[in-house]
């Protein structure tokens, strides 16, 4: 469904990605792991069109979308939950969610999707008319995910959804991601929390200094000695 082919991305003279390739099969959860600064967010930003690679391709549903504008890529069915949530603080929860439907033409179905999101995250319904900026970190994360889902995407990209959240919330978020995936949504999950990500994903890539260091079926990686030592601290 989504393929990244030999990406080279740099910030000026600094090389962020040096030949990164990954694949997300339809209906699967793929996680992209690695330490801080490895290039995980860079990869997501390049997929979404915020960064233009020096070399390499991004292919979505057999279409080459390398270097396209983010506004167009979103309309093709790729939706990202950015790092740090980035919800609109001065808009209400409901307005945030509605904005997710901006690119959609089917207004009536949009309202049904709003109910679906509220079923995933009941607390959002409670705080429907509250300003998003007043929500707690966990609630904002749910809002950000809900907002991304409202555009009815084909694939959902998540950039470190567990960042700054209490462990019990992390569990909740991850189980919801699993649930969303069960209904058919493909997911590309970027995480520092390697253990949780490996547990819910089918396939994983581990990024180190702009290159893929390990890749494989998640359950196998969980057992691999080096992975356990360096990324799981066991």
């Amino acid at each position: 469904m989504l393929k990244v082919d030999n990406l080279y991305v740099s910030y000026g003279p600094v090389k962020a990605l040096s030949g990164v390739s990954l694949k997300v099969e339809e209906g699967s959860i793929v996680s992209l792991l690695g330490p801080n600064g490895a290039g995980k967010t860079t990869t997501l930003k390049t997929i979404c069109g915020f960064l233009k690679p020096d070399k390499g391709k991004v292919i979505f549903s057999d279409r080459d979308i390398t270097g396209h504008a983010p506004e167009d890529i979103v309309r093709l069915g790729i939706s990202m939950v950015p790092e740090g949530r980035r919800i609109f603080p001065e808009l209400t929860v409901k307005e945030n969610l509605i904005l997710g439907t901006y690119i959609r033409k089917d207004k009536k179905k949009s309202l049904k999707d709003l109910d679906k999101i509220y079923s995933y995250f009941p607390v959002l319904k409670e705080r429907e008319n509250q300003l998003a900026g007043t929500l707690s970190g966990g609630e904002q994360q749910m809002l950000a995910i809900g907002r991304a889902l409202m555009s009815n995407p084909k694939i959902l990209l998540l950039d470190e959804p567990s960042l700054g959240l209490a462990p019990i919330l992390v569990q909740e978020i991850f189980s919801i991601i699993k649930e969303i995936n069960k209904s058919g949504m493909s997911v590309l999950l970027v995480e520092q929390n390697a253990y949780q990500a490996l547990k819910i994903s089918n396939y994983s890539y581990i990024l180190e200094v702009g290159k893929i260091a390990f890749e494989g079926k998640s359950e196998e990686l969980l057992k691999t000695k080096e992975v356990r030592k360096y990324y799981l601290g066991r």
């Binding site: 979404c48 506004e71 939706s79 950015p82 980035r86 609109f88 603080p89 901006y102 555009s151």
Partner: protein
Amino acid sequence: MFFLQNVVSGLFWGSIYALAALGIVLVFITSGVVNFAHGEMAMFSTFIVYTLLTYLKLPLYLSIIISIGFAFLFGMAIERGLLRPVREKTHAGMMIITLGVLMVLNGLATTIWGTQEKLFPPIVNREPIFLGSVVIDKYSLFVFIISIAIIVGLFLFLKFSIHGIAMRATVQDEFASRLMGIRIGTVLSFTWGFSAVLGLLAGVFVAPNLYLHSNMMQEIQIKAFTAAVLGGFTSIPGAIVGGLLLGVLENLIAAYITTKLKVTLSLIIIIVILLIRPHGLMGRKEVKRV
């Protein structure tokens, strides 16, 4: 009934202040920039109407419609050509550029059309209408109704339509807005264009009473800023309330105390409000982001 009469004529001026304030507040809500050149842009566009009217002898309605098109493009051009290139670098820089535009337009207007005041026809005639013991002329009533209608319409649009919500979102988080598929450039251009049209309308409404000249909008602009500050710079209903309140207050002071203090009153209000309650009567308290 002297009092009521003054209140009513205060409402007429108030609605114009509100309309002028609206243009400024709209641009501020969407792009975070204060357009100091708003008044001059309005004045300039009104002069275009005048030129079409007087030199090309076009009918008033047609002149206004053509000028609306001009104003829209003008606003878009200023945003796209002058402000967008510096957007990434500096916010204060954009403000300074609008001050530059102010200077250019003011000087240009004087050069092209001279310093003499020109007569400008009212859109609707000034037949007096009697509402009880109060007299108002048809023109003032028309302006009042149209202005309020526009402002209310815009408020509803911004609050409830998805494009309105998108416009409000762009200034809060550009990155996230792009993720929603919002084309920031289009939103900005459209906002500036529309704001310029609002300014033109304010100018056209005001010109018959103030006579058209290059400094015509300066006083209105001060009052528009006052209205915006009074109502809270981030609030459109605030602009209405601020404008009407200012119009009425001003008129009452002129009637009961002295006409000379009108502008000073505005200035005092700006100063006092910004010192005591910067978010005005209806604006939202600004949270300082570290």
